[in-house]
Symmetry: D4
Subunit: 249 residues, 8 copies
């Protein structure tokens, strides 16, 4: 609740323009709308100038339709993440008008073109081919959030010349998202190449001692590069969200 709004309300009460009981009610009128199963925050997105995002994992198609529909009715753009193709189809049948981007498993309800509002570019760099779905989630989200995105794929550190070759692209970005599975060493090397914040995304790519992304996660947290911070395993969306905020500063 903003201080200024509160001050104005109190002033209205003092002047007698607003009744104490009504003021109390208004104070309780918080910025969200309830559906049967969810409380959708319709103001945060407007406040941030960002579309509302619905995490698809752990939700049925019905729940996604319910939530996204409520937002669509409020004429807000909605981005649904982690939507498998079959689920996307089921959702689009009931809630038409969306676009499904298979590589990043994103379902978008909103304008075809999003104006660029980020002040620079975001570079998304990946270690291997198998990291692509997470990278595409980050890229797709960042674009829908109004950023210019550059991508550099398949530059794992065991072939360091491929990464060095891309150094200029990375250095030109305002913030870098580094996506890697297995040992997750990419952000450490990238962090040494650029003077910008690097957001590391461990992926669950790998087998055996990668333990579902744990090896990459621990590696990124203990990175010897000081400009690296980390988000959850496979969380391309979160990386894009943080990068968007940084890119708007």
């Amino acid at each position: 609740m903003e201080r200024e709004a509160l001050r104005a309300l109190l002033e209205e009460v003092r002047r007698g323009d607003v009744d104490p009981e009504a003021a109390l009610a208004r104070l309780n009128h918080l910025p969200f709308v309830e559906t049967a199963n969810a409380r959708v925050d319709t103001h945060r997105a407007l406040r941030h100038g960002l579309p509302e995002v619905v995490l698809g994992i752990g939700k049925t198609a019905e729940q996604v339709v319910e939530i996204a529909g409520a937002l669509r009715r409020a004429e807000q753009p909605v981005l649904v993440t982690r939507v498998e193709p079959a689920a996307a189809e089921a959702i689009l049948v009931r809630l038409p008008g969306g676009v499904y981007e298979a590589p990043g498993r994103l379902l978008w309800f909103g304008p075809a073109e999003v104006p660029i509002v980020g002040r620079g570019s975001i570079a998304v760099v990946t270690a291997g081919t198998a990291d692509l779905p997470v990278a595409h989630e980050a890229i797709g989200v960042a674009r829908r959030f109004g950023n210019k995105v550059e991508s550099v794929f398949d530059v794992g550190v065991a072939g360091i010349h491929r990464l060095l070759h891309a150094a200029e692209t990375l250095r030109a970005a305002r913030v870098v998202i580094a996506v890697a599975g297995m040992e997750g060493a990419l952000p450490s090397v990238v962090g040494g190449l650029v003077d910008r914040p690097v957001i590391a995304v461990p992926t669950s790519v790998g087998y055996g001692a990668s333990f579902g992304g744990l090896a990459a996660l621990l590696g990124m947290l203990t990175s010897c590069a000081s400009n690296v911070s980390v988000v959850n395993i496979d969380n391309g969306f979160g990386a894009a969200y943080v990068a968007t905020l940084v890119n708007r500063l």
Copy 2:
């Protein structure tokens, strides 16, 4: 190696101003200086406009003196982190001229006043009294890196009114560092209060199922707030480093 410097060198070779053998030697003249046990990178700090930082953990006082001394002789400011009081004393005897800040365990060799170059302020918020050493490391580093820092202490989420009371301070910052041990829930709530990037620092504060900071770390990585990224347990320095880069954008 910068592209422009390389281009210039090649031009000099072409003009005959520089001999190929000499060019080869110069190409090898990479930007670091070797001491007996370390390769100190003297250029990165200058390039970033930041003092060089030496991590005190796992180094003997002798090694710190050797490395910091080399940098001091190069007339660079040096910040040593994680220095226990006894070690600080031992280092200062051999390498005078430094200032020890006990709360953040920082040893500083450089000008008494660092000019503010960050574009906004960094807010450092902590959950409990026991998180203070890590918070003070973040605060001390951020100040030596030229940032204005605001601090909000002891606002754990189980007394949510204390945190809400501080919301305006947090919202006024360009980037927020949230420091918490135990369940590490602070960054999630802070992340919902502000529209800026939040850098979460789990601390090893706690006992039992906190497992040396693991509970807080996992909690921050799985935060339901999308604007949170995470650094290593107790890594106040890393959080300040990332926040500094963000604050300079």
Copy 3:
């Protein structure tokens, strides 16, 4: 074995009304009934005034029918938890007369209306939409156990105003069940808002570093709110059981 029953039995033996051998047999007549594969405790439920509960996980439909059937023949109500829809159908074919509640995966054999015997209400609060199945298990069990239940859904801590909005509902309850996955921070904030016991239920909702509910579990165990105790991951039933006992005090 109750002390009074034993005292009475001994008195009967002393008076010669009961033969020592018969007394021995009666002492062995412990309060359970054996089926082919299980020893069903038919007295505990009567003693507690609660229906018998059968955990559906790890049991075949045959085993559930065998156990629940034995209890039904003893004219006791039975509640089966964690029953997937297909299993419910298979069970109901062989043991008709039950009601399946899909949201909480509960199968109920007993009276349609259970009288309220709890002294106050139990509030069930959840962080996100994906926590609903566990919350519905807790709600369904609590109702079948004779409690008035209030529910507050989708009030994750990253949108703290939604939770504060519900504070009065929570404060009106005699005991609160807080259900959350991911970082599991909800019980810490709820614990600070109410002066009643809070029973925390971590859920396996989340991905990556949530490690199947481990992050939420550790977070709840190390909660900075002192009025929080914890049950197993996804254990909505256990939370409802403890809450029922508390609500009957």
Copy 4:
């Protein structure tokens, strides 16, 4: 912030008795007092009718004195937990008037006798001699919180007759705290013997595969007794806190 207080304040503003600016200031006057390093919540304890509690772990003697002193100056009773003997001595030198209870490592500033306000008794039961420090913390806290406490020591489940011998004491309590290390099986058996809530406290007692209390913790979380909930390893204080709230219902 209580609704009634807010309503009253708004009424005063409406009547012109209070100026909007003054109202705003009062709204910000939240119920805590700041010291140099902490925000001490002076109202919660009064609201709950409980003494304020300071966790001694991770705090210096100076910090404890600062916080406890502020509360003492507000004429509130204070209980400091996890105080080792040497620390207790150092604190009592600077802040006289307290009593140190070595078995439970508790430091108490307040009346010698605390009136009983709990409605029944709390039973504290332990598995082995080595669990006593945690049990004594629970007992000491429960007594300072105004409860009648019964204790049953050294009744590990491998000698089940010792536990059965104590069954009546356990059944007479309104709530039971079960403290155990190693395999942590005690709460499961106790849970089957009583019809009341059982709060399980795993202890770090044991070696090898007990992994600092992890074995006991996991055992208690997966207990086959449905009336068991769990607090953090060695958290005798937390168990007493929850038990106190239950005992006041």
Copy 5:
């Protein structure tokens, strides 16, 4: 290689009855037979007087047929463990003459009746219905290994009277196998009731913090009963094997 056989061989060489080269060859003639993919030890079973056992996990039906067939051709009984129904059917088509015991997932090729050679009985006791498959594996193996087996099902420690009721059966056994999932407390209580070795089998029964049997495993390893030793999670076969050796002493 037995010492006596070696001594005899050397004596034969000395007498000239055996040629050194032939002796060398015989020394290499070790007691196993090679199939395409396995080296089947045909002597160990004869030596122990036990049927050969083939672990079905991780083997294709083809591999089981190949190995069991080689043993059958050597006229040895064979017991295959962990055979799912479909695999059993596939094996029996190619290698007829076996009997499949579904409850214990055992496939037996050998005489219908195995003579009792164990000196006493083995008691198999389980905590819950869901532990039955592992218990049936132990029972089936122990019987095929020539033991008299008594079983006590569904006597979890939360209903301690059910277990006490069975105490005499347990005490009558020469060795006890205690099978339990979840918190795995059964062997601790059983261990206190009997004066014989107790072999504990943790099962993967449970959910959440049971972590696939880890909670039960750790609980059994840290048991406060001294007469308990532990085998791998779900390893009913191993428990029966050790119990057989003990029962033959």
Copy 6:
């Protein structure tokens, strides 16, 4: 409580020789003696024909003196395990008459010579020199429990000929205790060499990925030898206890 004793008591009640109230009291007279902090089971040891054992870990010298003193006053032999030299000295000053065996950290109060009652010998075999303290605990306990013990030291599997050299000693034993740290492979090889039960004791010997004995523990639990069961890390006492029971069969 023995059935026969109960039957006799009931008969006495029937004959009027015993009053019901007195019978009730006697039923409660369970076989243990309470000290200030412990319930010492004085009957179990007599029943088993074994000395009472007190685990020294986690107990103060005072507590050990209290417990062992109570048992000594009951004229029972007592064995205290895990006693460091300084603690032993402190205990012996207050409770003279004991003998301290430094290699196994055992403190013995009882006859100098214990008669052999085991039917065969127990072999204790260790992988490396650093496993000796645990092996000596097993050896010392087994001897005080009336067993003949053979020991084979320093036969790690990387020098398999050393182990094969000792095969006859191992085969001559009735039960084998195999003690090993690091990868804990010894019991697997020993298990293949003997036809007797092998009790495996993982030790916390090692560094790095041995994780305090976890590597050895997991290795022993997943041993490919079927005659191996496992006790807790460093639990030489438990292994000797189980081996004693087996050796008495």
Copy 7:
């Protein structure tokens, strides 16, 4: 970039044969070719004299075809690992000319016969039948890399004579690959039998406390044999790669 090539280039620039801009371009001409989703390093294989290898895990058939096709068009042999039969079929339809080896899940595009270039033989030894797929991966890769391979199957350490029987084969090899699941003890014993480097491959074979290969992995890392180094769980390919490099020395 080779030093000599650089020196030559600089000389050409000096002589005016090459323009600085052209030199700069050539310096950027790094040895890889980009496809839509990957940067294929076409030079490394040639440099090493090894076929290029594509890890099949985490790649769609489309991606494998794209990458392998690019390499085939460059007339290089390609080896694809971890290809399940259905995937192999899908790939071969679009990219004919390959050979699928089911036991090792390898797909080979290249000459039917690979000349032997390794200087000695590589021995691959396995503990159990279930380890065969990983062993076959190692064998297949080693053969395609030009090595002579000897294999010894099913020689687990619980039947040590089977392994000793194969000792000569192992000693004759230049480097040994030891593949084992469960407790992973095989490399320790093999390491003691041979004087050559042993590359240990833990497999995910086993159940329960093998935790997906973790037990074997930890066992191999803490091996008491000094000549053992370890690769990732199930990484038969990596073991063969390292063995190939060693065998070419």
Copy 8:
């Protein structure tokens, strides 16, 4: 036991030159010498042409003196690893004639100069100053084992130019040992730079999420460079041992 020696012995028996009993005794005369607490293998070292190595961890100074003394009396060189300065002093007092190398914590009894027998050089490369003790252990062991060693210190991957600068040194080696803590990314990058086997040594350097070297260990095991194999955390000795064997091929 070598086949040839056995063949010769059998021939002697056949000729009657050796009595069967004497032959039997000789067959038992295995190549080790027993001290009070250890079986020292005096032949292995001679066979390998390597000094015997004693691991100092977990051994008392007395035990080291006993073992090393036995070897010295057999006129063999001995290398003791992991000897802290105080222990070294204590050992040298009782067993003079050794040299202590503090950086690598090595104690050497043998010739001052060891002749070079390795065929090429071993390169030891480290990521940070804190990794030096482990690197010095590897270097010292490799030198005492007769290798030429090149070392490259402080070339962590976050300053990739420092590592590239050293690429020629690394490429000139026959085998590379890469030592790194924290995220352990060094071997991945080194593995891409050289065509030789890389032996990775994770170190316990780091804090927080490095979990005592676990992060580095997992990172190295999941390295995307195929020529990397791994030894235990901090195991500089093991890396040098394997490298020595490789360097002698």
